[in-house]
Symmetry: C2
Amino acid sequence: MAPSAPKTQYFTASSLDGFVATPDHDLGWLLQFGDVGSGYGAFYEQVGALAMGSSTYTWLLRHHVRPEGQAPQPWPYAVPAWVFSSRELPTVDGADVTFARGDVRPVHAAMVAAAAGKNIWIVGGGDLAGQFLDAGLLDELIVQVVSVTLGAGVPLLPRRVATPPLRLASATPYGAAWVELRYEVPKGAA
Amino acid sequence: MAPSAPKTQYFTASSLDGFVATPDHDLGWLLQFGDVGSGYGAFYEQVGALAMGSSTYTWLLRHHVRPEGQAPQPWPYAVPAWVFSSRELPTVDGADVTFARGDVRPVHAAMVAAAAGKNIWIVGGGDLAGQFLDAGLLDELIVQVVSVTLGAGVPLLPRRVATPPLRLASATPYGAAWVELRYEVPKGAA
């Protein structure tokens, strides 16, 4: 069977009211569910390269790789990563990270080559996903809608994608805690 | 069989990114689907009274009851309605509308009495639903998540309901166009 064409996917958790993080980047609302992201394993298996913005990267360093007062953990991704930033950021030993800035298109081409037939994961934030959308490079939006509202925070996707609309491909509830919504991005959404 | 206890429900359409209206109150994103709200009929059958805020009411007057350059239509609801407003608003002939302001609790008691065992519908906007939530009077959140993002607009529910979280009761997709998510509001969410 021929493999399906690689896809560029924005996979993220979000509150019901469309925020991927609180204003102060507290993750208690998300971590209370423990196993949020049980769909994540199957998703990540198909990922060959990933991209994130500088806020996501520095959050990851501060809370995971070099947490204050806790044991440091290794960089969590084996696949090559691109970090978009207009400023100089600290590096992580042993992490396959390339820093980038500006136009996402040449970076996307490099990611596709590195992914060797596997998918491209846009980790976040929403504005970086929006830049891939603007360039016509985003194929799918996969949102774990967690059963909370936050009232304020960092927006899921600060873009209008309405006419043509997204196409809901599936809605998979995980108990009472969250529902995974998968959307195809229409051609011409940019 | 004894009827189940009447519920107070916030039933609304929303974009995936948590907006119930665009900044300029354009509804093209919603109306393009034509039959959005096919779950609405079964829902509305169980409604015995409803409440809305002044923005929702004036929108209804301007676009439905007295649309500029188009034939006026009758007030759309047979059940008694309460409109919350701190200012004087025009009335509609033949509409069972009571104007209210301030604390939602006495109004809720009057609505429960008028509904005679049926449910209470909070039509919107999000802040009015939030006031019922704050008072511990909101039982369910029923959101038709339409397959669009708007990027900006009127928030679904400008409140934090996170610990304890909402409880996802069901997720029902309607083709590629939208998914109805039903949540129970936990006691102590206020």
